[in-house]
Subunit: 225 residues, 2 copies
DNA sequence: GTCTATAGGCTGATAGAC
DNA sequence: GTCTATCAGCCTATAGAC
């Protein structure tokens, strides 16, 4: 493994600096938005000079673009390709929620970036980022459609259902940091809920809420719940 | 009714200018975040000079504070006090979702402000705004607790359930503008769903998802769905 | 590849005329 | 109460030394 931190001499590992800037930019943009961050602060967090942002990414906007790409590179394999089309829709849906939550919990800044990108032109004036997110969630839509066709789910609107599930997930993980912060500063009385509890809760809520009402045992809640 | 737009002469209606700045600030902050907006642009949208922001609100931050107060002043009576404690929990929950959605649909910028405030220090460095939102939703928690005690709802975690419902609602309305924008620019294939459809969908999903599994007819889906 | 120094532009706030 | 003019400060980006 190479040296990841800068030493006394000049340039050593170009990739290390690049990655440090990406990490710092993600943290900063997620916390205060694109316009709310200065290149100086990002460079300070990364431990390098701010001029290197222009050198490595062509500027502040270039760093954001690189981050957007990174989000999808890491989310793609975990989400887009995961639900097995050969399993039943109920299992697929649980897997999807689980996979999404695992990624979101591991990379806590991603949900915030996604949500910011879906809201307005702050981090993404052209809307390309939001568009990619919604497209990547055609997987979820497909699962819902399959479940309806299989008769496991009620004939709900897949788009509305997708918005409900995605909204709950993104909201929970995007606001987790704030919730934790407020809990630790004593501004709120209840302790912050854990991600795993939320995921199990959401799976139950959604599967039950979508279950087709065709007699008993139509959509059995699985034993692991 | 007074003149709301400025004429050729000097000062006429102080309240009109104040309101114009509030409206412009809400629109701008919701679209690009606090740091993403300049006082000059807000003043341009309001049709007045930017110096008036300092005069009326003491500065840019003061305008944001005033907006935060306005959000809760308008949301308070509609949400905090609405669910009737004497009705049953299922009706209460439907009323709550309906009331929230009506307010969010009427004031489309409020959900974005709420979500931004819940995410990070962009619009709200101290977290006071987020704290107020979560406190205001003790009503929702109370409804859920009541439903569980009544035996209409499963013994779910009220906080997790609150996060799910609130997340779906805020997500849908906070991203509605972006969804519309992408649909009209042809970047996405499906037409944007309407708010009323979503609300009915969410009511069904949540009520069914929360329903206690005590034999048939425990939580009947009402005829209006 | 990384730094320092600097340029040029824009920001938020304010003093003062009306 | 509203405007114009202006300020100091910070921002991003870049040229050039090493």
């Amino acid at each position: 493994m190479r040296v990841t931190k800068n030493r006394n001499s000049n340039h050593r590992d170009p990739e290390a600096t690049r990655n440090a800037l990406l990490t710092a930019g993600l943290e900063c943009f997620a916390e205060r938005g694109f316009a709310g961050c200065t290149t100086q602060e990002i460079a300070r967090i990364a431990g390098v000079n701010k001029a290197l942002i222009s050198y490595h990414f062509g500027g502040k906007q270039g760093l954001l673009d690189a981050l957007h790409n990174q989000v999808f590179e890491r989310l793609g394999p975990g989400i887009t390709g995961l639900p097995d089309p050969r399993g039943d829709a109920v299992t697929n849906l649980k897997d999807y929620i689980g996979a999404f939550a695992r990624l979101a919990d591991l990379n806590t800044d991603y949900p915030v970036m996604l949500l910011r990108g879906l809201m307005a032109g702050d981090t993404d004036p052209e809307g390309g980022f939001a568009n990619r997110l919604l497209e990547s969630n055609r997987v979820l839509t497909a699962i819902l459609v399959k479940g309806i066709e299989e008769g496991r789910f009620r004939p709900v609107d897949p788009l509305l259902t997708q918005a409900s599930i995605l909204g709950s997930l993104l909201f929970f993980f995007a606001t987790a940091a704030t919730r934790r912060r407020m809990a630790s500063s004593g501004k709120i009385d209840s302790p912050p809920p854990h991600a795993l509890h939320f995921v199990e809760h959401l799976k139950e809520l959604v599967i039950r809420g979508l279950a087709a009402e065709s007699g008993p045992g139509a959509a059995p809640p699985d034993p692991e719940g």
